[in-house]
Every structure is written in structure tokens, then in C-alpha cells.
Symmetry: C2
Subunit: 245 residues, 2 copies
Amino acid sequence: MGTRERRAREFQQREEQMLDLATDLLLEQGRDAITMERLAEKSEYAKGTLYKHFSCREDLLCALTTRRMAEISMLLQRARQYPGGSRARLLATLIAYEYYAHSHPEEFRLLIALVSGPLSDRASPEHWHKLEQAQEQLFQVLRELFGEAREAGDLPELPMDPDPLSFGLWSLVFGSYVLGNADPALCRRAGIASLESQLHGMMHVVLDGAGWHPLSHECDYAAVIEDIHAFVRTQLPETAQPEAP
Amino acid sequence: MGTRERRAREFQQREEQMLDLATDLLLEQGRDAITMERLAEKSEYAKGTLYKHFSCREDLLCALTTRRMAEISMLLQRARQYPGGSRARLLATLIAYEYYAHSHPEEFRLLIALVSGPLSDRASPEHWHKLEQAQEQLFQVLRELFGEAREAGDLPELPMDPDPLSFGLWSLVFGSYVLGNADPALCRRAGIASLESQLHGMMHVVLDGAGWHPLSHECDYAAVIEDIHAFVRTQLPETAQPEAP
DNA sequence: TCATTTTATGACGCAACGTCACAGTCTAGG
DNA sequence: CCTAGACTGTGACGTTGCGTCATAAAATGA
């Protein structure tokens, strides 16, 4: 008899619902509104039931973060399809990331606060593991782009291993958002008009430094970026709207 | 008569004491122990008195963060004195930063969690302003290094404005620590033995990309870094120990 | 139908936040 | 030296949110 399976499936579905509702809560009332109490009320389940799914508040937040990361992963996967050279495709993923940050400001702000925060200590092993997987999947996109670039011969003289370099790129992007978000005034003082243009500039520097061809003086990347924007805008928007499947 | 001034001074001193005690709390019992209740108890003042100094918990944390940043600023200022070329001096500040992160793990972890968190919304304007100043002062170190490099002719063909580039460098370092801290497993999977070597590698890439001479193939930076380590270890340790004046 | 297992509940205890009316202390002018 | 008034310190209080657990309800299947 499939009773157990059915139960497990329903349980999973309910968990997804809970996460949907938590996101609603975030969008309607801000991040402070994501409490076990309010989610219980909103979901019309009792608190005890909530705790069947999430071992503690951080566990819920961990699951929420996993969701956001998965959404971003999907976005990057599609952005990677941009028809262009390997370096242009890398830029496309960056721009898709920016696109997400821009079109989901609340979710993104929460994401960066949570990733930098103390989730790992308190989340349940299960949800934490899923978060790590999601993170790995995101990282995988960069890894693959490096692989493709090497195969295509666009990375003839890599000065360091590709994985640490990927990690560095990601750190740069993520760190910029963290700092830019933490203190917009600092950005202003640093003469940064927009984090996007800032990141594009840094990308040129880093990718040139890594010898990723075509180098910025060999190609009109301003035009490429313009084109990628059009691509992202036209090809990706539906993924950017979080929806249940 | 100077009654007012004396009072104000005593008030300031007490605030410093409170921050000392909050740091003790952090080191003794972890970051969760930094609560208004416990700090009140530890300081032997009532809660109400605490709230004369800090408008809310975040305000206290903001002030704590400012302290840490000021400590780091001092450290970087001194590291900048490293006798070497402009690029070596920049590396020296980076290594001093790493040194701080390494020798004050708890404080540093708290710092990154707080900077990425929601302090700006809730801290009082006064303490927030001080934090911004501390951040600016830190940033200033980078700014000046760029200025010196340009004067020395080590940066002949800067591909972007120095301030955004400084911001980018800082983002890279900070972001690496945030991510490395959030998920050490990811680092392991990315083949990163230590964040330090990782950052040194990235620095070579970025600074080469920015055309900061001598380029990494023009100079034995491994030896330079070794020498800087010795310099930092011998010249800077006392600043690294937080002490009341 | 009913015994058993599984699931849902929400009152409860606890910790921490931030407030405020009051009590205590200090100052300055007489 | 005294006292009115200003300033400072206090901690009980109300509130919110976390996480638990004994108990009630529902589902299962024999």
C-alpha cells in the first residue's frame, strides 16, 4: 500500500506551501515578519506543525535561502546559453545575477544577510545539506564555463587553478553586493554610479588579469553587454518571477 | 563651570567600558550572549541605563562593529608602512587584514555577520554615522595606496577609476571571507587550501589586470609575501590585541 | 467497529526587547 | 548649609517570539 509515500508527498507539498507563504510574508511585511508565529497563522497550521517541518527558525530561513539559490541557479543556467564566446557567456551569467538582484530586491537582500549569517550552526542537517547542494550547483555553472573556455582555447595561460578563480569571481560579485547594500553611502563616496557598471569594470580587470580572451581591448564589450541585456530581458523574465511549478 | 563636560566625559568612558564588556561577553560565551540583559548584568548597570547609551540592540552592535573597524584601520595604517614598492605595501595591508581575521576569529566572524546584516535600518544616526566614518577611514587606506602608486608611476595604464577599483578589491577580500566562513565545505570543494593563499592568488590576477607594477611575473611575490609576514608578525602584534587605552 | 499508530494542536515556560514612572543623586543659588 | 529643580539610574512591566510537550483528533487497517 502506498500510504506512506502519499503521506510523504503531501508533507513535501505542504513544506513548499510554507515556503511560498514565508516569501509572501517577506514581500508583504518585510524580513522581520518572517516569524514562526506569523507563518503558522498565515498557513493556518499550528506552531507545532511548523516545527514538524523546520527544526527552528534558522532552519526555515535556510530552506528559504536554498529556494532563492535554486531560482538563481536556473537563471544562470539559462543565461549561459547566450550565443557568444566563453567570456561573453560568463558576462551573461553575471548580468543575469544582477538582473535577479534588481528585480527581487527583498529576496536578494534577505539572501545576502542569511548567507553571511549564522545559518550553518542552527539549521537542521537536512536543510543545510540542501543549501550546500544549491550552492554547489550555482558554483558548478562557473566551473563549467571555465571548462568550456579552456576547451575553446580562450584561457591559454591561466595563472591559477580554475576553481579557486571561480570562487574569487563569485566572492567579488557577492562581496560587492554585500558592501553596496550595507552602506550605499560608501559606494557614493567611491564614485560608484551603479554596482552593475562597477562589477562590469572589475570583471574586465579580473578576466584580463586571468588572460581570458578576447581581452577587453580586443573586443567591444560595451556592445556585448548591451546585447546581453537585451537577451536577458527577452529570454529570461519568466524564470525571474518565482512561481510554483 | 565644567560640570557638563565632566559628565559628558564620564558618559563616554562608560560607553567604552560597556563595549569592552560586550566584547568580553562575545569571547566568553559567543555572539548569542551579547544581549542587553546580560550586558546590563555584567556591567552592573540597569537595563534602562544601557538604553541611555544605545537606542536598541542593533545600535550596540553597530558601535561594536565601529570599534572592530577602527582596530583594523589602525592595523592597516601600520602595515602600510612596510618598506617596499606600492604593490608590496598593498599586499602588506591585505596580509594585516588576514592577520586580524586569523588572530581574532570571533570578533571577525561577528564583524562580517553584522556588516552584511540589517544594522543600518535600526542603529541610531549617531552610531551609524561613526560606523560610516570608520568604514571610510578603512577605505581611505586603499585610496592613499592608489595615490602613492600613481605618483610612483606604478600604475601607468589604469583601466578604471581608482576608487571603484579599491572598492572592488575590498569587495573581493570581504566577500571571500563571508563565503569562506558561510560554507567552508564549498571552499574545500573548490580546492582552496586556505583563504589566504586564495586571496593572494586573486590579488595577483586583479593587480596584474589593473596593470599595477611590478607585475607578478616581474617580481618574486612569494618571497615578498614571506617577508611581509615576518614584518607583520614582528611589527604589529600589540595593535592586534584589543586593549583599553 | 475499534485498537493502534500517526499527526496536529496550542497553552506553556522562557528569554529578550524596549519603556516609563518613580526614586535617588547632584547642582547651583540663596 | 539648605533646598528647589534638574539630571540620572532603576527594574518591574508589557510584549513578542522561540521551542516543547501532553493531549486531542484523525487516519489506518484488521
